[in-house]
């Protein structure tokens, strides 16, 4: 039953992508509320899935790779709904939805929804650490999406080749401001998640600590470069994409390793 919520949610996100692609292709795109409502509906179904799964497990549903991916997709949609309308970044929903579809699609299709063999007792610090880190990942994901939009727009302006999408993408300075804020939000939440990990009350796996610290250092370096004006906006945007791709791979690696090698 809970997986059906997830399928419906994926269809909602797919509707946003298909509609935008169709309108852009027909050169009829106009900023409407459809994307926001489609994503909001998808988010409601995601929340319903996580609520049911959490109720069944009696804890935050982050016990296997499947749940981690769904929670991450939920965090991406959550941050979009908080950020998208606030910054009025047209087309951000259209860029966000494919990422959510990718995460949820992978989670639904791959055989990764296996019960965790090592049942640990519920630990509120552990749950706080995991959920906070994933919400931070959501902010990093949105920064990555804004980074893609920035690079697309910047490339068109540099080469003087203005395609139809140029007129729908937000201005460079608005995108860069959004990237910066998302990075700060993500970094603050990630720091909170990282620090809370030390209060779990059990020894932490060395690989996880090293990887998490690596991600933290990477984003700290991007923000430092931005703050000290050592990095041009284009590089910040590119590093957001590289950073999130690396962080996502590490997240997958950590969770996958933790599942096949339970302590």
């Amino acid at each position: 039953m809970d997986r059906q919520f997830l399928i419906v949610s994926t269809v909602c996100f797919l509707a946003a992508v298909v509609r935008t692609a169709f309108l852009l292709r027909a050169k009829k795109f106009h900023q409407g509320r459809f994307n926001f409502f489609a994503i909001a509906l998808g988010f409601i179904f995601q929340t319903a899935f996580l609520a049911i799964r959490g109720h069944t497990l009696g804890r935050c549903p982050l016990t296997n790779l499947f749940e981690v991916f769904i929670f991450l997709a939920w965090a991406v949609a959550l941050i979009y709904m908080l950020v998208g309308p606030a910054y009025r970044l047209s087309l951000m929903g259209a860029f966000t939805a494919p990422l959510v579809i990718l995460l949820q699609g992978f989670a639904l299709l791959a055989p990764i929804d296996t019960p965790h063999t090592a049942k640990l007792p519920a630990n509120s610090w552990l749950e706080f650490h995991a959920s906070m880190s994933l919400v931070a990942y959501g902010a990093f994901a949105l920064a990555c999406i804004a980074g893609v939009m920035y690079l697309v727009q910047e490339r068109q302006l540099k080469t003087h080749q203005l395609r139809s999408i140029f007129y729908y993408l937000p201005p460079l300075t608005d995108l860069f401001a959004a990237i910066t804020r998302l990075l700060w939000w993500g970094f603050a939440l990630y720091t909170l998640g990282l620090v809370s990990g030390f209060f779990v009350g059990q020894p932490l796996p060395t690989v996880q600590v090293i990887c998490a610290t690596g991600v933290w250092l990477l984003y700290a370096a991007i923000l430092q470069g931005r703050h000290l004006r050592r990095l041009a906006p284009r590089w910040v945007a590119a590093l957001c994409i590289i950073g999130f791709s690396a962080a996502l791979t590490l997240l997958w690696g950590i969770t996958f390793t933790a599942q096949i090698l339970p302590r």
């Binding site: 050169k27 009829k28 727009q153 302006l157 540099k158 003087h160 203005l162 139809s164 140029f166 007129y167 993408l169 937000p170 201005p171 460079l172 300075t173 608005d174 860069f176 931005r226 004006r229 050592r230 990095l231 041009a232 906006p233 284009r234």
Partner: protein, 355 residues
């Protein structure tokens, strides 16, 4: 009752000819005396047109005579330049005009405002009755539909509007942008005015001749910067417009690179509309610099025009549907109504949304 349109446009006549047939305040009344039950005069810089409804055919020569400013001039040659559309063709022509398809710059929207104004004026004077009311209200609907469902108005089509659009795509709102205009010629003035119209308030002008700089500065509310000091301004400004008559390059990559290191997180938009160019094209390779010369600006304007022309088929399809529908409605409903109601449509019978 027959609907028809007689007129002159930029397609076949020059401005002098159109001026000589521009009509005057009395034209509506003169047209009605000539046999038109309803008449409306639409005059813009690109066209002079009369839309009318009459029981009997009113000759084109008679309409031309009503429009003529100099009554002593009876040139047959000029009258042959008039076109005439009847019934469905008249509706089709007006729908195309209102949607901007017949304009010099395809898709321009000013014509719709001018048509609305002309209609409103004719309605108030009583010159426009139920036939023209139906025709024009439908034309306004068609224009709106064309604008919404096609990209006929998409994209900038002049150098000034391309500049403004690009600036907005880099900086968003232009209110906080600092602009330096190098050169005080007509092109600089036009571009500066286009930016001011979008909210730029910090405008600086630098020119070899201080007097011309002062004159332009007064016209566009800018401040003058001494010509030998303009490179220093590049540390602060967001937009640089150059259009000097210098034969040598004024800005090279080597000069700009050190300045840019101090402003790495702020883009610099350079519009080089000088011929020969003032800015080394290699400057565009620098991080955060977006350099556009006159050719690239004109090329974007051209792209927009091409895009607009590509949309014409879709717009014509919308118009054709409306022409067919309008033809049916005018031949059935309105004829019955017109026989019962002889007087023009009053304010109460007009839907507010159609005004």
């Amino acid at each position: 009752m027959n609907l028809f349109c007689v007129g002159l446009s930029h397609h076949a006549t020059n401005v002098e000819t159109r001026e000589s047939f521009a009509g005057n305040a009395e034209t509506d009344c003169v047209l009605r005396r000539s046999g038109c039950a309803e008449a409306l005069l639409l005059t813009t810089c690109n066209r002079v047109e009369v839309y009318a409804a009459a029981q009997m055919r009113v000759p084109t020569e008679e309409i031309a005579r009503c429009l003529r400013r100099d009554m002593n001039n009876e040139s047959r040659e000029e009258i042959s330049a008039f076109y005439r559309y009847e019934g469905g063709e008249c509706a089709q022509h007006l729908f195309r005009v209102a949607a901007g398809l017949d304009s010099m710059v395809v898709g321009e929207t000013e014509i719709l405002g001018q048509a609305k104004k002309a209609y409103e004026s004719a309605r108030k004077s009583g010159a426009a009755g139920p036939y023209l009311h139906r025709l024009f209200q439908r034309a306004f609907r068609v224009a709106k539909q064309v604008r919404t469902h096609t990209e006929i108005t998409r994209g900038p089509v002049s150098v000034g509007s391309v500049t403004v659009d690009l600036a907005e795509k880099i900086f968003g709102h232009l209110a906080n942008c600092k602009v330096l205009v190098l050169g005080a010629g007509e092109t600089s003035e036009r571009t500066a005015r286009a930016l001011v119209s979008r909210g730029v308030s910090d405008l600086r002008i630098s020119n070899r001749s201080g007097e011309r700089a002062e004159n332009l500065a007064q016209l566009v509310a800018a401040r003058v910067v001494a010509f030998d000091r303009w490179p220093e301004e590049c540390r602060e400004i967001d937009i640089l417009i150059t259009s000097t008559s210098s034969t040598a390059l004024l800005l090279a990559r080597e000069n700009l690179a050190p300045i840019l290191r101090e402003r790495i997180d702020r883009p610099l938009f350079i519009i080089d509309i000088a011929v020969p160019r003032d800015v080394d094209p290699d400057v565009n390779q620098l991080e955060g610099v977006y350099l556009y010369d006159i050719d690239s600006l004109q090329s974007i304007a051209q792209q927009s025009l091409v895009l607009r022309r590509q949309q014409m088929a879709a717009a014509e399809a919308i118009i054709s549907r409306h022409v067919a529908d309008f033809g049916e409605s005018i031949s059935s409903g309105l004829n019955r109504k017109a026989s019962a109601v002889e007087h023009p449509v009053g304010e109460t019978s007009l839907r507010a949304s159609e005004l």
